[in-house]
């Protein structure tokens, strides 16, 4: 049986959750076993039923007032208890901050081998081998998990969602939790609203030192908004506090793999490329024709960003207006 953690935020599932459910359901189908999704915290039944559409044969909802906010210890315990009750042999979570917080604890509870940053379905022709990114995207490693139970944290925006059209079988479980499982407390949550989180974005507009100063970011933000993209930046830009650290992509920042990454005024140092090289399509705009980014890009424009951005923005607006 394949168990998948259906991560929710404020009662809603994200696309990465549906990707994880479809990934798990696909493996379950290949192996002729069931796929069970576990939701923790409050989610309405209609939304839980969506998990069946993406492939869950059964949905187990664990909910109580104490589970309203994320808590790694309690969530992991509840999840591992369901895994044990259902007899899970493969456990799937999304490789998100909270997904990974749960995954490690669950692996230790189940004495399960674990791989994070997984980008392939398991190859069982010789063991149980999954591919993961290493060196922040500079390479891939094939990892053979040798334990009876395996935990996989899969990279968002890597696997497609599939509609299985199954009928929802909704059940509940109490998770076997007591007060002693809630030592850490969530005090306050603040989310940037109206902006697409970088970690989930399918389109990213990113800029570097070529923008010459934080006061010139208006056009970057506007282009991102028109395209429905998130904004990102290079390390020097976040180090100089032109942009928040949360926008820094690269080896010591966030590793992302959007469908489109537009790099404006970023030379493409090896550490930066590591964090974005898995993007499906890369555009580099730089006035230096020798900038390393052009070697990693699919499309390039050798020009000063300030000269070409207005034209690109205008064309993007026209496209969006026409579609």
């Amino acid at each position: 049986m394949i168990l998948v953690y259906a991560e929710s935020i404020d009662g809603n599932f994200k696309k990465s959750t549906f990707e994880a459910v479809s990934f798990a359901a696909g493996i379950a189908q290949t192996n002729g076993v069931h796929c069970v999704a576990v939701s923790i915290g409050h989610v309405e039944d209609a939304k839980l039923a969506e998990l069946a559409n993406y492939g869950a044969d059964k949905v187990v909802a664990v909910n109580s007032s104490k589970l309203a906010a994320f808590n790694a210890e309690a969530y992991a315990k509840a999840f591992a208890n369901v895994a044990a009750a259902e007899g899970a042999t493969i456990v799937v979570v999304s490789n998100t901050y909270s997904g990974k917080a749960v995954a490690g604890r669950v692996a230790a509870k189940l004495k399960a081998g674990i791989a994070s940053g997984v980008i392939s379905i398991p190859n069982t022709s010789n063991g149980f081998v999954v591919r993961k990114t290493v060196f922040s995207g500079k390479a891939f490693a094939d990892v053979n998990l040798t334990t009876a139970i395996k935990v996989l944290a899969i990279t968002p925006n890597t696997f497609d969602t599939h509609t299985f059209g199954k009928t929802a079988n909704l059940t509940t479980a109490d998770g076997g939790l007591s007060d002693a499982d809630f030592i850490s407390n969530s005090v306050e949550i603040s989310r940037v609203t109206g902006k697409i989180p970088l970690t989930e974005a399918e389109l990213v507009v990113s800029a570097g030192r070529g923008m010459k100063g934080p006061e010139h970011w208006g056009i970057i933000e506007e282009l991102a908004q028109v395209l429905g993209a998130a904004t990102a930046c290079s390390k020097p830009v976040s180090d100089m506090h032109w942009r928040p650290h949360s926008e820094h992509v690269g080896q010591t920042g966030i590793t992302i793999k959007p469908n489109l990454y537009i790099a404006i005024g970023i030379s493409g140092a090896i550490q930066h490329l590591a964090g974005v090289s898995s993007s499906k399509v890369i555009v580099a705009i730089n006035k230096d024709p020798e900038a390393p980014f052009f070697k990693a890009a699919d499309y390039g424009i050798v020009a000063d960003a300030f000269d070409v951005l207005p034209k690109i923005l205008e064309a993007a607006k026209k496209l969006k207006a026409a579609n």
Binding site: A72, E73, I114, V134, V143, T252, L260, I270, G300
Partner: protein, 245 residues
């Protein structure tokens, strides 16, 4: 306050990654190894806490003798003592198990790790370790303050921040904004030579995974250049050719 900081010994970020032995081993030839940058932030924050409130900072690494320059550097930066568990760090599970075995005998108030190592990108040791020790874990923290045995932290969540409070002991993993790294001074480097670095042998032998091979990403097919005076064509190509917008 007794703080344990977990240290990974990793290739410098400028490393051009290659492999040997039929793509089964990372090629260390000519590679400079450093303290994992996130672990260095964890260490620095641990020192800031003990400097203000008193206490000791122990650095721990699971690694072979070739990791000792990085471990010595933790002492030069200011750790009071260091422990090396003498084994190849096979995977996150193994590393967590080794550190848990050591930590059980020492009763640390706070254990800090980096958010992930920049080589293996696991990001799992903190959670595994906390579960093995039966204590809470908070990952990707960007701040931590300790008062009356309670840690108040901010952590990154997808699309925002969460403020979390937790009674000690706990395991927390450091994210970028936590603090700025420190460069060791000459006095620190001299002092590091005489600070204790204990070597401990491995406990247990649970094998949970093995890396069977590596591969480098395929090279890009070449860049399609768009003339600067027709930059607007980019949007058309992204829409009609690449079909990403």
């Amino acid at each position: 306050m007794k703080i344990l900081v977990c240290i990974s010994n990793v290739p410098d970020t400028t490393t051009k990654v290659t492999f040997t032995d039929n793509n089964t081993k990372f090629n260390t030839a000519g590679v400079q190894f450093i303290i994992n940058p996130y672990d260095e932030l964890a260490l620095t924050r641990a020192l800031e806490i003990t400097e203000k409130q008193g206490g000791t900072v122990t650095a721990i690494n699971v690694g072979l003798a070739d990791a000792e320059p990085s471990i010595r550097k933790t002492l030069a930066i200011g750790a009071n003592d260091a422990v090396r568990i003498n084994a190849e760090p096979q995977d996150a599970y193994f590393v967590a198990e080794q550190i848990a075995a050591y930590a059980k005998s020492e009763q640390f108030d706070l254990i800090l790790t980096g958010r992930e190592s920049i080589d293996y990108n696991g990001g799992l040791v903190g959670g595994l370790l906390a579960e093995m020790l039966g204590i809470p874990s908070v990952n990707v923290i960007t701040s931590i303050e300790i008062e009356n045995g309670v840690a108040t932290m901010e952590r990154d969540i997808d699309g925002g921040k969460e403020k979390v409070s937790c009674k000690l002991p706990l395991v927390a993993s450091a994210q970028k904004e936590l603090t700025e790294p420190r460069i060791p001074n000459m006095r620190g480097i001299m002092a590091a030579r005489t600070k204790p670095l204990k070597v401990v042998e491995v406990t247990g032998d649970l094998k949970t995974s093995a890396t069977v091979g590596f591969e480098l990403p395929a090279a890009k097919g070449g860049v399609k250049l768009i003339p600067a005076d027709q930059a607007e064509l980019l949007i058309d190509l992204l829409h009609n050719e690449a079909k990403v917008i």
